[in-house]
Symmetry: C2
Subunit: 348 residues, 2 copies
Amino acid sequence: MSLTNTSVRAERPRVTLQSIAKRLAVSTATVSLALRDAPVVAEATRQKVQEIARSMGYVYNRSAAGLRTARSNVLAVGLHDISTPFFSEMLLAIEETALAQGRTIMLGAYTEDAQRQDRVLSMLREYHPDGMIFCPTAHSHVDAFEHLIAAGIPLVQVAREIADAGLDFVGTDDAMSMRLAVQHLAEIGHCRIASIGGTKETSTGLLRQAAFEQAVRDFGLTVKPEWILEGKGSFDTGRAGIQRVLSGAEQPTAAVCANDSVAFGVLNGLRTLGREAGKDFSVVGSDDVAEAAQAYPALTTVRNRHNEMGQHAVNILIKRIMGTADEAVERIILEPTLVVRGTTAPVK
Amino acid sequence: MSLTNTSVRAERPRVTLQSIAKRLAVSTATVSLALRDAPVVAEATRQKVQEIARSMGYVYNRSAAGLRTARSNVLAVGLHDISTPFFSEMLLAIEETALAQGRTIMLGAYTEDAQRQDRVLSMLREYHPDGMIFCPTAHSHVDAFEHLIAAGIPLVQVAREIADAGLDFVGTDDAMSMRLAVQHLAEIGHCRIASIGGTKETSTGLLRQAAFEQAVRDFGLTVKPEWILEGKGSFDTGRAGIQRVLSGAEQPTAAVCANDSVAFGVLNGLRTLGREAGKDFSVVGSDDVAEAAQAYPALTTVRNRHNEMGQHAVNILIKRIMGTADEAVERIILEPTLVVRGTTAPVK
DNA sequence: CTGAAAGCGCTAACAA
DNA sequence: TTGTTAGCGCTTTCAG
């Protein structure tokens, strides 16, 4: 079955407000108003215009309108990662919330690369989005966003936060998130705990690290410096990390992870060593991505409500755009909850 | 198309070509040319213009340019799902390939809902993207895309294909993909095989189903009608499906799945029944998402090269946009490969 | 209630 | 090599 070029790309004359106006012998202004259901136009003409527009296959040109109104109705979204469950699930939430409000998403990704982040955000900016949602890369400094701030583009940070940026932010209570994880382990008898993944070059990592140390003190746990492994939040750092930790003379009985991807890597590394999470060793993740409940063993983790983050982010952003937000910087810190599943068990 | 803009926000004076031109006492045309490095402008003025532009914080307005040139440099991407690994990984490939070519992505998702697909694609269209990449929902008919085709918007389908649409397409060889899975199982002695997930309302499902039946005949396998379970490509259909299949009197010893998500569901359902993939039962997935190699047991699956699909899709699309593509419909059918891991084992 | 006209920021003819 | 001019398709005063 071979389809040859049946789709003849006929360059049809564009149908615009003008062509509709001409056809109906009215002004473009009337057409514009009628199409937008402005109450000022007569019901009869409104109907006529809309009908003709439909029959002529008219397509609204948002860029043209945006040029005039200085409103594009697009929301730019810049994330350092989009292929990982945490962000792709959040992205879906963002897209759906935006769509429900009649906004469209422009997307950029920059894989934890500050230079690319610059490039991506600058490019997105050239489309004059009404606002931006972004998650800064590690090592990000306010300076990189200064041009956006100066231009008065509404900006909301999601998941991660740049120090002293004075920008709206939606995230989880990172300290509490970490504390819940450690507390759970402590309560089931673990007193030798490792921390794998995360970097202090990130607000998240910084807060979690501090909370870890605090919890260690509060619960009277033992921790060796070699048990604290920084690294990005990937499967590989989890896998490599646990192997390294368990190759030492002194060994922990449990680990808390920077996120679920790291935790899955730890689970995998454990198996390589002939150990099994939930039996020989306990591990708790962070985020509660869909996969966490579906994996085997199911991952004990802390739910950071990333879907809600996405929703809140666009809601705040839209309030800013509409000018209905408070003057003050908005910070939504969601409260995390512990989800106990199969990768943790009382210490033997 | 209905929007109400009653926002009041303090906008600082925009810097435009005009303001730069005025500042330098040259014409806007010169500035425009200089900024784009047109060889026609004198080197000296070029430098001067670029320097001033930078110092004034000039930001190119792509929408304005697009209005004039009828080129937006945006690629619209419509997917029925973006939170699942298969598509989010593909999306990353699309975004990266597009960025490398100086294009930006507008994103829409429609969760297998034809009505929402309509809405999303129409909305994206209003931004006049240079082209669109999309994966049609189940039950999609050409009619839904007719307005896009008629408008001459370059369109490329990815992963799934609408019958007789006569549109460019990038996907895997679905029949071969299924055959590889069944063949592998047959070769290790399985002759009672179930097929879980997928729907005939999709090109993918249709081809896979036919290939399954063909393979069953070719390899002389036994299949009960109750072992063929249609359903969407989700974890839940896998989980529910295997439980249903294994509740019958006659039971298969293996299952092929519509995709990896379904396979993970099957693995999970199996455990609920006290069975274990790779021992009591064999399962093979489809796609080879990142998670497949990381799960436990690691999933035997067929690699359908979804990252490459994304890359090819944007490359074809850009060729169409540039007018450098063949007249004929382009179809890139990638060759799948079997990846044997831990969820399959010789039948006992 | 409807029309005329200006102009958003840019590019492309065509002149100079 | 640079300037002038005319729009792209839309919204928005301001008149009528």
